[in-house]
Structure formats: structure tokens, C-alpha cells
Amino acid sequence: MSIVTRDRQGQPAGSLAQRRSLGDRSFQVLTLAAGLLVLVILVLIAVSTSQQASSWFSAEGTRIFTNTWNPSAGQFGVLAFIYGTAITAVIALILAVPVSVGVALLLTEVVPHRWARPVVYVIDLLAVVPSVVWGLWGILVFAPWIQHIYGSVGSGVGGVPVLGALFGPPTSGASFFTAGIILAFMVTPIVTSLSREVAATVPTIDKEGAYALGATRLEMIRGVVLPHSQGGIVGAVLLGLGRAMGETIAAALVIGSSATITAHLLAPGYNVPSVIANEFGEATGVFRSALMGLGVLLFVFTIIINVLARTVVARSARRGRGA
């Protein structure tokens, strides 16, 4: 098409390339170095934190995945934290995903363009509230308030077989469930904005086709929008999962800080990022190394989830363009 396009695909422009000035070439090297910095940082994170964690891995071996967290006795099994991370992230996603997809569909399919803008602003505001402010509000306002609800829910379902085990008494305001709710608030903007982007790429002609066949809006959404944006929404949910697993300060304040494995969702618990945040300051030796190791686990998990998410999103975007 043009000189520039060919050049950008990496073909040097013949013998002219040899005559590029020193300044021009050094600028290119500079930008390349800045780009490579991303890879360097990621590799350095992996190497340096694993190095710091090595004494934990070698001291505990496979016992790191047991449920015996007792720093004063030198026992550093972290299963309880991994369990807490999984539980809170799942609660957050169960609460946040339907709401986020609902708002995304509301924005793309229902609300006229003019009105969509203020709604997007509101979602952006939600993303701007800092994690620590959610935590402050969570522990001082939200947890005491929801404690009452937990209390009545707990006494209500106390005898019921499954619900009693999940939500029965005794209950605590700072718990797995409270952390899950706060995380849900923080995950919502990410899942919403990504789902919205994907839903906006559905070709108008497909939607109009569905309407022309007499479909209602709901039928059009189920028949056209959702199948088309399935992959993107899955990617958005995965990104939300990564965020929910790694979000630290808000969870650290409202989760209750108790290293226990229990099916009881209204009981205080702990997760990986909060135990690092709360205990790293006083930790030394193998204790510090164990917390570093938790950081390594968290890093590996979130990298895997993010790579998956980005791959899914990129693949569905390519398919979307092809359709």
C-alpha cells in the first residue's frame, strides 16, 4: 500500500537503510530497550522472588501444601491461604459477573448512545476508588452493618443441611464472604468494561437480522450477542479472577485474619495477599522466605490466568473480525 506500511512490517528500505544516521539508529535502540524492559522486569520478578523463597521451598519440601501455619513453631504450610484465595475469588466472581455482564449489555443494547457515556463514567469512578479506601469502608462501615444480616441469616439457616454448613452460626462481620463482596465491587469495573468492548463488536447486521425475524431484544441477545462475544466474556471473567486473587489491601482489612480451612463462609479466614501484607513486616528467616514463596505462587497463578485470558480475548477478537 505504502512505504510506511511495508517499513512497519520490518522490511528495510533497501540500500537506504545503511545510510541512516547515528541519532536515528540510537533512537530505535532506545525504544527497543524500553520495550524489552517489560520482559526484563517479568523475568526479574520471577527470579528474585524465587531466590528469596528458596529456603522455604527447601526447608519444607512438599509440606508447603499442608494446613499447618504456625510461624512461632517453624511450620509454614500454606494450604489455608490458597483455600481462602480460591473461596473469596469465587464468591467475588459469582457476585460480580452477572452484574457486570448485565451492565455491559445494558450499555450496548438498551441505553441510547447519549446516555451510555454517564453510565461509563460511573463505572470508571468505581475503578478509581483506591483499594485501601474500600478496605477502610469495609472494616469500619460495611462489616459492622452486614454483621447483623449475617446474624439473622445464620440463625435462620442454622438447622438446614447444606446452607447451615455454609452460612450457619457463629458468624463474623470480617469473613470470607465480606471479603468476597468487597472484591466483587473491585472486580466489577474490569469485567464490565471488557464485556462491553466485546459486545460492542457484534456486527449490527446480525442484530438487525435477528430483529427482522421477529426476535425480542432478549432473544436477539441470546441468539446473536452472547454467542458472538462468548470468548471475550470468558476472557473478561478470567481477568477479573486474576484481579480478585491478587487484590491485597481491601481483603487484608476485612477477611478476618484467621488461617483456617472451613466450609463456613461467614467465618473469618485468610488469603494469600493479605497474609503477606499483614505479616511480612515482622517476618525474618524462613518465615519471610515462606511469605516470599506465597508471593511466587501468587505471581505464577496470576500470570497463568492472565496469559489464558489474553489468549482467549485475542482469539475471539480475531474470530469476530473474520465473521
Binding site: R20, G35, V38, L105, L126, V128, T192, L218, F280, T302
Partner: protein, 297 residues
């Protein structure tokens, strides 16, 4: 079709009421409800922070030193934390924004579709998902263990968080600059570096600045990367390059887990200050976008 009768009746063309239509209504109502569910916590948080914070905040609160937690709200302020947040965030911006813009220039102007450029772009996306606490642990092990706690270490950690965000937003903006502009300057004999610096970057400036401001807003509110890099001291430390420091988020975190009423009140005041800073940055980003938007989608 039968010919229209001469005495024309009013025909109701609307679909008859049916279960399909009712379901459609229910679905629409559920979508509206989900938006309400988003607004409620947001409104609740903002209301609480403003209500509890506004009664504490005044000029002397923002500038006075941090008192012991036991003292009531009328004593002292959060001066050192405001200073710390401003200097650490500014330093992080100075480190991360130029590097991020250069990285994006590589991706968009030099890398194109080469495998290396695609790998870097992909990994920048992945890096935005790295938990902020991991960045704190990373800087702790490569910097703090050797050089001690300092504002600089905190700025490194925040910079690592900002870098991929800046790369991504700048890359998006550079993609919007029309190739005709580049070709025009090449035709005049300019080198690639010159074209990039004097034609492409100025054309995308508004979007780049606005993306950078949003990255700064995100970084200014982060606590986790600062916990093990600057600690949270109560004295002001104007020297950002050495010695433990403090910041608004760290101070809020400390105060939130304190049992004293005065500390809580100062926590709310600090929270309102922090939210105000984040909102100002966000509004500035919107204004910049509106003012300089030359090539919008």
C-alpha cells in the same frame, strides 16, 4: 392480501402481549437492576468518605505532622503522608511515563508485526495483571535488601505498575495517528526518529497524556507495593532518595486497623484526600482528552 375496506378500522400493529414479551421486559429490568446494584456501593462509599472526611479536613490537617494514634481527631494531621504521596508518585511518573512511551513507540513504529514486538505487547498486557503486592515483594528483594527503605524504592514499585498501563494506552493512541501524516514527513526527507518525535508524538499527545494521568491516578491509590518499600513512618521525609517514608494509602491502612477514634477520623480525612487526588487526575485526563482529541475513534 385482501383489499382495505373502505371504512378503515384502526389496526393495532403492536405484538399481542405474550410470555416472550414479558420475558424481554424482565430481562431489561434485570439489566437496569444490575446497574443500580453497581451504583449503591459506590454511592455508599463516596457518601461515607465525604461525610466523615469533610469534617476533619482543613488546611492545617493537610500540613500538620502525624500525631500518636491515641490523640483525638482535633490534634495533628497527615502532612507527612501528603508529602510522601506527592513525591513518590511524582518520582514514579518521571520513571515510568517516558519509558512507557518509548516502549509503545517501539511496539507501534518499529516493531510492527515482528514476533518480538508481539511478545512484548502481549507481555505488557499480562503485566497489567500482576498483583501489586508482588511488585512490592520484587522491589523488596532486588532493592530494599541492598539499599534500605526509601521513597525511591516505592517509586520503583509504583513505576513497575504504571509501565504496562502507559505502554498500552500510548500504543492505542499511536495506532490512531493516520499513516498519511507519517508518509508526508518521510516524503520531505525526515528520518524515522524525527518523524516519530516531531509528527507522530505531537499528533497523539492528548491521548498519551490522558492515559498517563489515569496510570498516575491508579498508582497514587496503591498501598500494597509501598508496604515493604517505604514502610509507614510518622515523620515527614522530604528526601525521597533515602530513608523510610510514608504515604496517604499506607497511613490509611495503618489507621484502619487502629482501635482509636481519633486515628479512624484521621483515616477518613486521608481517604477523602486520596480520593480527591484520584478524581482530580481523572477529570484532568478527561479534559485533556476533550481538548486535544484530534484523531478519535
Amino acid at each position: 392480501m385482501a383489499p382495505a375496506p373502505s371504512s378503515q378500522q384502526k389496526v393495532d400493529l403492536r405484538e399481542p402481549r405474550s410470555w416472550r414479551r414479558t420475558r424481554n421486559r424482565i430481562a431489561t429490568a434485570l439489566m437496569a437492576l444490575s446497574f443500580v446494584l453497581v451504583i449503591i456501593p459506590l454511592g455508599f462509599v463516596l457518601f461515607t468518605v465525604i461525610a466523615k472526611g469533610a469534617s476533619v479536613i482543613n488546611w492545617s490537617f493537610l500540613t500538620r505532622s502525624i500525631p500518636p494514634n491515641v490523640l483525638p481527631a482535633s490534634f495533628g494531621g497527615i502532612g507527612p503522608a501528603v508529602l510522601g504521596t506527592l513525591e513518590i508518585t511524582a518520582l514514579a511518573t518521571v520513571l515510568a511515563v517516558p519509558l512507557g512511551i518509548l516502549g509503545a513507540i517501539y511496539l507501534n513504529e518499529y516493531g510492527g508485526r515482528r514476533p518480538l514486538a508481539r511478545l512484548i505487547g502481549f507481555m505488557a498486557d499480562v503485566m497489567t495483571g500482576v498483583p501489586s503486592i508482588v511488585m512490592g515483594l520484587f522491589i523488596f528483594s532486588v532493592w530494599v535488601l541492598h539499599f534500605g527503605f526509601s521513597g525511591l524504592a516505592g517509586a520503583f514499585a509504583l513505576g513497575c505498575l504504571m509501565l504496562p498501563i502507559v505502554i498500552r494506552s500510548t500504543d492505542e493512541m499511536l495506532k490512531l495517528v493516520p499513516d498519511a501524516l507519517r508518509e508526508g514527513s518521510y516524503a520531505l526527507g525526515a528520518t524515522k526518529a524525527r518523524v516519530t518525535l516531531t509528527v507522530v508524538l505531537p499528533a497523539a499527545l492528548g491521548g498519551i497524556v490522558s492515559g498517563a494521568l489515569l496510570a498516575v491516578a491508579r498508582a497514587a491509590g496503591e498501598t500494597a507495593p509501598l508496604l515493604f518499600t517505604i514502610l509507614a513512618v510518622t515523620t515527614a521525609n522530604p528526601n525521597v532518595f533515602s530513608g523510610a517514608n510514608t504515604s496517604l494509602p499506607s497511613q490509611i491502612f495503618v489507621n484502619a486497623s487502629s482501635p482509636y477514634v481519633g486515628a479512624e477520623a484521621r483515616g477518613w480525612g486521608a481517604a477523602l484526600t486520596l480520593i480527591a487526588i484520584a478524581f482530580i487526575l481523572m477529570i484532568a485526563a478527561r479534559l485533556v482528552t476533550a481538548r486535544f482529541a484530534r484523531f478519535v475513534r
